[in-house]
Amino acid sequence: MLHLRPENLLVQKTLTEAWNANEAGSPLTLDRVISDFDYTTLHVSNSPDIKSTLFLSIKTKAWQSISQCGNGFLEHLESKYAEFPGITACQPEQGFDYTLSVDLGQIQPAAIIQLSLLKIHAMSFAFQLAFDEFGQLSQQAQDPASFSGSDSSGTVRMLQYRDDENIFIKPSNDRITVIFETFFQDETDKVFGKVFLQEFVDARKRNRSIQSAPQVLFSHEPPLEAAPFTSSRKLDKDRRFITFVLFPRHFQTPELQFSSVCHLTLFRNYFHYHIKCSKAFMHSRMRYRVDTFIKVLNRAKVDEEDEGEQQTRRTITGRKLVY
């Protein structure tokens, strides 16, 4: 319950159903809209000619900024699916950013999981560029001949994944800095968010067993790493910046890289999910409290029968009868 899974369960389920039906010899007719976090819409539909071929299209808010990060975005996505037979990129469907055609006759269950990770794979391109650049920078730093002395730092990449929220990724020679810019529309969320973010910062200090986790910083002013993008902007009081500092141990192997990217891309959703969970928890406490208060009030009520008796024991002038 605590974590959100990186793969889109619904894509996985839909494709698995389609695959099973195709194996059984009766391909499904599909035309489904599926949604994901951060203005992402996926569309699963049949090819007009061959029923066993499906199109999986994606449209996401971050697409434009990802493709501006560097060259080779589409090649990056294609390479993710290159090892799976039956999956090929094709002309994007009208209104969508990217379309994969999936031949149900050829794919394997492992490929379905990869297809359900399409959004993560798209987002991972910006991170992959940062990982590559980190490699170059650290090489330079180790080589004293070319080391310039100043802190050699790479280019900052910006992912515009929501209307007012961005991710900044900046590689340096010994670390990669990932900065989340957050903005809350709701007043209550703002308060909850503050507590949560502070907890992210403090948790590492308090607990020794998670010392290997990336360092987290939290600030109101835009960090200097993001300055190329934020310096021109007007300072907004409601904005918060969360900085994750990734060290080489967090992205040494491809598995670690994948896991870091999953965690980072889902960070905002995880964060908001848990704000909502805490609200739900507070509500259940409040309901419990109200219930107990009502019980107390009910106990304090005078029985109506007693009152009735009191009424009758008065004289006609209103004086009470005392025995």
Binding site: L2, D31, K276, S284
Partner: protein, 451 residues
């Protein structure tokens, strides 16, 4: 305002099953039991006294480890338990739960208990329901509620206080962009517009909604439910399954489990026009008897089960309840007739003319045709009587029962149909409206006029 492009979310939380999905799709994305399995005790309120936080967090994925929180809450909770109840709450057991099919499998183990937050169509346990929604939105639908409009359903005669509770949860916990709460029967009527028999898209008609637990007959006039005339029948899907099971047991079949009975019901049953004729047909033509093969999970053993008269006898209990129950004896067509007769006279013709089926237990072959025939008989009898008494000619009443392909999830489909229209968002109450006016805003929703 890019949330305007996101598809609206349609959620139909029924007593038995929850249907979730996005507007514009032809079927719900998720259909699972409205069940929640909570850690240790069914009652969250009691967890303060329970033994701190449980350590059962199943996350089998390699890239998501087990640590629930960075700080060591577990030991903290245990030590603080004695002194202060509130501090003891600092565990994460409120997040330790499963919903839907996962809940059913989790409740097999010792550490979870299962509960159904909806009883008789109405939300009974708001704590559980809130968590059920939170998980269905984030985990199953993967949406940020701030970016989407929601269409929820409610049973007829749902008290307005419940609507307000729903609004509080959706606007305050989830900050959803906009909310519309529709009555299930009205959505079922909207779903029938896909049928070719429907010529004008009116919201007047009688809805026969038969799920697992109970069957409702609900008259709707121009989008408003006539609450005083609603009738319930205690015969629904589960009773049919139990009836099949009892028939199998009487015959001494090899496998008489409820699962088998249910599969027989779904695959073999149909409605006949005349029982006596059907019995004769079966006796003359042994081809009608089917055989159903049950395999165990390992596919090592096979059991062969004969399927006989229950093929047409089981759905017959709607039309002749006396064959299965001894306390409820009114056939469905009579109940429908009584319901319509209890309505204002101006709308009765419209109600007879548009009888819409909804729910899984109305899916039997020829169910609609039989209902129409029986109901026509009753109506024609009444007309003949009044003609002979008054001596004038009646213009006649047209009885029409509409069955269509989307019957099983008719309510959800109706919701999907309405929520994909361009006007839908203007009918919703938005977060701004809610903050301006308060929860009582949801007591009124303007109806769709979809002509």
């Amino acid at each position: 305002m890019s949330y305007l492009n996101n598809p609206a979310i349609v959620m139909d939380n029924g007593t038995g099953l929850t249907k979730l999905g996005f507007a514009g799709n032809d079927s719900p994305s998720w259909v699972f039991p409205t069940a929640i399995a909570t850690a240790q005790r069914s009652n969250t309120k009691a967890t303060g006294a329970s033994s701190g936080s449980s350590s059962i967090q199943n996350s089998g994925t390699p890239y998501f480890g087990n640590s629930t929180s960075a700080t060591s809450f577990n030991s903290l909770a245990a030590s603080a338990l004695m002194s202060n109840n509130l501090a003891g709450k600092r565990g994460t057991e409120d997040l330790d739960f499963y919903i839907g099919n996962e809940a059913l499998s989790a409740s097999q183990g010792p550490s979870y208990s299962l509960s159904y937050p909806i009883r008789h169509g109405q939300v009974e346990n708001w704590d559980h329901m809130e968590r059920f929604w939170e998980n269905s939105i984030f985990k199953y639908l993967r949406t940020e509620p701030e970016d989407h409009f929601f269409l929820l359903t409610e049973p007829p005669l749902n008290p307005p206080e419940n609507r307000e509770q729903v609004a509080e949860i959706f606007f305050e916990s989830f900050n959803c962009a906009g909310l519309y709460i529709a009555v299930q029967a009205v959505l079922a009527l909207a779903a029938s517009w896909t049928s070719s028999k429907v010529v004008d898209r009116s919201l007047t008609g009688t809805v026969i909604d038969s799920g697992d637990g109970v069957t409702h007959v609900i008259p709707v006039a121009e989008g408003y439910v006539i609450g005083s005339a609603i009738k319930n029948i205690p015969i629904a899907g589960r009773d049919i399954t139990l009836f099949i099971q009892s028939l199998l047991r009487e015959r001494g079949e090899e496998d008489t489990s409820l699962r088998t009975a249910e599969r027989l019901k779904q695959e073999y049953c149909y409605v006949c026009s005349d029982i006596v004729k059907e019995f004769n047909k079966f006796d003359r033509d042994p081809q009608k008897f089917a055989q159903f093969i049950v395999e165990n999970t390992e596919k090592t053993k096979r059991k062969v089960i004969d399927v006989g008269y229950e093929r047409f006898l089981a759905p017959e209990i709607f039309f002749n309840p006396e064959i299965a129950s001894s306390d409820f004896l009114t056939p469905l067509p009579t109940v429908v007739d009584q319901t319509i007769q209890a309505c204002p006279i101006d709308v009765r013709k419209g109600l007879y003319n548009n009888i819409v089926l909804s729910g899984g237990s109305t899916m039997f072959k020829d169910f609609g045709r039989r209902l129409q025939r029986d109901l026509k008989g009753i109506v024609n009898q009444r007309i003949a009587l009044s003609e002979s008494l008054s001596g004038t000619r009646s213009t006649g009443v047209d009885v029409q029962v509409i069955s269509h392909r989307r019957q099983r999830n008719a309510v959800w489909f109706g919701g999907s149909l309405l929520a994909q229209t361009a006007e839908f968002k203007s009918y919703c109450h938005t977060k701004q409206d809610y903050e301006e006016i308060g929860p009582e805003i949801v007591r009124n929703f303007s109806l769709f006029n979809m002509v």
